[in-house]
Amino acid sequence: MTTSDASNASNAAGTDAACATLPAPRGGAPLAPALLAAALALPGVSAPVAAQAPPERAQLDVRWLHYQDSQPGLKRIRVDTPSIGLRVPVAGRWTFEGVTSYDSVSGASPRWHSSVSSASRMSDERTAGDLRVTRHWDRATLSVGGAYSSENDYVSRALSLRGSVSSADNNRTWSFGLGRADDRIDPVNRIVVDERRKTTDVLLGVTQVLTPVDIVQLNVTHARGSGYYSDPYKTIDSRPRERVQTAVLLRWNHHFQGPGATMRLGWRTYADSWDVRSNTLTGEWVQPVAGGWTLTPSLRYYTQSAASFFYAPVYDPTLGAPFPEGYLTDLGAPRSPDARLAAFGAAAIGFRVAKAIDRSNLVDFKAEYYEQRGEWRLGGPGTAGLAPLRATILQVGLTHLF
């Protein structure tokens, strides 16, 4: 298993980083006052929104993410990722951002399905870097970013272009993105040599301020990739060389005047050309309390259907594991036993505590517990016979503003 797969796993189970990018509804501005609604109807009068404002101060983020998953009786993948990010505003119109991270991955490579016999130990390291330059205008932004990550058997390079345009009253923001990734796969077992995978993705989104305390966002992403998708370390793993993915994300943030809290709800629906269909529901409650503390409990539910070529842990009576039933009768067909392509449901519960120490320093800690099971799938039967996968994610971070 490549470590990028491991990070994907931690991503799937971990935080939805994009969730934080949706601006919180303007606090302080209640829905109730009739005059405020009337005032905002006046030409050229808009409530303060800093949507397009470039950051005013340089920011340093130091973070440590720890991911550990397990199946009954077996500790599986463990990932430790320290990262350092720096964001520097220049001349009030530009922002330069850079993040570098290092993953150390260790643990058992995944079983074919759940059987202990074939679990072998693995360890790997990955270094990754991201650079992004953003130009800010009064109602628009444009940014170009590049990302590079490297491990012993996998190199990924990506370029992306992103932009946003806001309406004159700043109540609506359109966003778009275009990305291209070029990955090179050179597994140590040399089952393939110098394989490539190229992916192009586009994003279109709109964020609308509905009321002073409600913001909704709709994002549509579409990606087309071609190349090597299989897992070179699985004996039976041959996946199609094309993948077309579409996802729609709908989010709603609502601010409650009374408790001063923000509720964030999200729904993501996804489909791809491998017949994987998934739905994710997320809910977060951001509650500031006295003394600069913010408590954020969160819940997430995920359900997906299996890829058309996924085979359940039912093995060929003659060949035995890991060969699927009927393996010899259709040798060229795509097949994968990867549990992430199975039909399953998953739930996660998390809790984040953040504390603003002063105007320049913020510390935060997040813990999340994730569990996935075949029988938790909604809208159809889950893959039977899969051992439940459990993961814990711990993250601690320090943010310093200069």
């Binding site: 302080g28 009739a34 009337a38 030409p43 404002a53 105007r359």
Partner: protein, 299 residues
């Protein structure tokens, strides 16, 4: 990198100022000028003292044919209507005629007969508005954008400042303040509330990064006669000065809302706290005995 600048000017019968942070003086001047130009534009368009203003044209046509008004004026009339509704009829954009009986410069308290003669000319509910068409039904009726014109100018000037390129600063039109962003180091501006009985003193301060703070008080234009203070905020029902509050301050996302609520609060007298609390906006009021009252979050 960014330096502070302040530009004072006189407009709308008030001492005004634009405060901002800019990389250099040339840009600071250009940005401030954009805001000042916008204040002057609105003053010229809506001053009741200028013969060529939109308001003067509307008032001249009172009792005669309807006048056609542009979109901006229609929007402001719509806001005047919202003020009238929210205040239960106390805030009346046609109550300016009472100034014919009141002379704050000479300090004359009008007699009942003088007020009785003017009362038929007050009545926002009788103003005929239909899209761009506007008609004051009775000769002698007057429209007056006092109580929201200056606040609207503060919001528009702040928008002009932001559009010009400023990111830190505020517009202060005689105490009606609209900020566009915090000080360059991220710290909010500290906006002090004037002591209503001591022009040099302050009673409290609000921190403001974005949004607006407005104050109405009995100390802006007033005279005292026989131990009674008569201020410029006049109740359209009695035609007399309001009594209760020395001053009311409201913080809101935009100045035109903050200012609307301060004036309504002055007009509602002792009933104001209930309305202000219902808005959920931070407020602070100084009562007849000088005691402070404030919204739950400020207490």
């Amino acid at each position: 990198m960014l330096r502070p600048f302040g530009f004072g000017f006189d407009a709308m019968a008030s001492r005004c100022e634009v405060r901002l942070a800019a990389p250099d003086e040339a840009r600071a001047r250009a940005w401030a000028q954009a805001a000042i130009d916008e204040v002057r534009r609105i003053e010229a368009k809506y001053s009741r003292y200028r013969e060529d203003s939109v308001v003067a044209a509307i008032n001249r046509a009172a009792g005669a044919a309807p006048v056609t008004v542009d979109a901006e004026t229609q929007a402001l009339l719509g806001y005047a209507d919202a003020l009238w509704r929210e205040s239960g009829g106390r805030f009346d954009a046609t109550s300016g005629v009472l100034r014919r009986a009141w002379d704050f410069r000479l300090g004359i308290v009008p007699d009942e007969a003088a007020l009785d003669a003017l009362r038929p000319l007050i009545g926002w509910q009788d103003v005929m508005r239909d899209g761009a068409s506007l008609r004051l039904p009775r000769p002698g009726m007057e429209l007056d954008f006092g109580g929201f014109g200056k606040e609207y100018a503060a919001d528009r000037a702040a928008e002009a400042l932001r559009t010009a390129g400023a990111r830190h600063g505020f517009v202060d039109l005689g105490g009606d303040i609209r900020a566009i962003g915090p000080q360059p180091d991220g710290a909010p501006w500290s906006i002090a509330i004037q002591d209503p009985r001591d022009a040099a003193g302050t009673v409290a301060a609000f921190e403001l990064s974005d949004g607006a703070v407005c104050t109405s008080g009995d100390y802006e234009r007033f005279f005292e006669r026989d131990g009674v203070r008569h201020c410029h905020v006049l109740d359209p029902r009695s035609g007399r000065s309001v009594r209760h509050w020395r001053s009311v301050t409201v913080v809101a996302p935009v100045a035109v809302a903050a200012g609307g609520y301060t004036t309504i609060a002055m007009l509602l007298e002792a009933d104001a706290p209930a309305l202000l609390d219902r808005t959920g906006l931070p407020w602070l009021a100084i009562g007849p005995d000088g005691a402070l009252q404030a919204s739950p979050g400020q207490r």
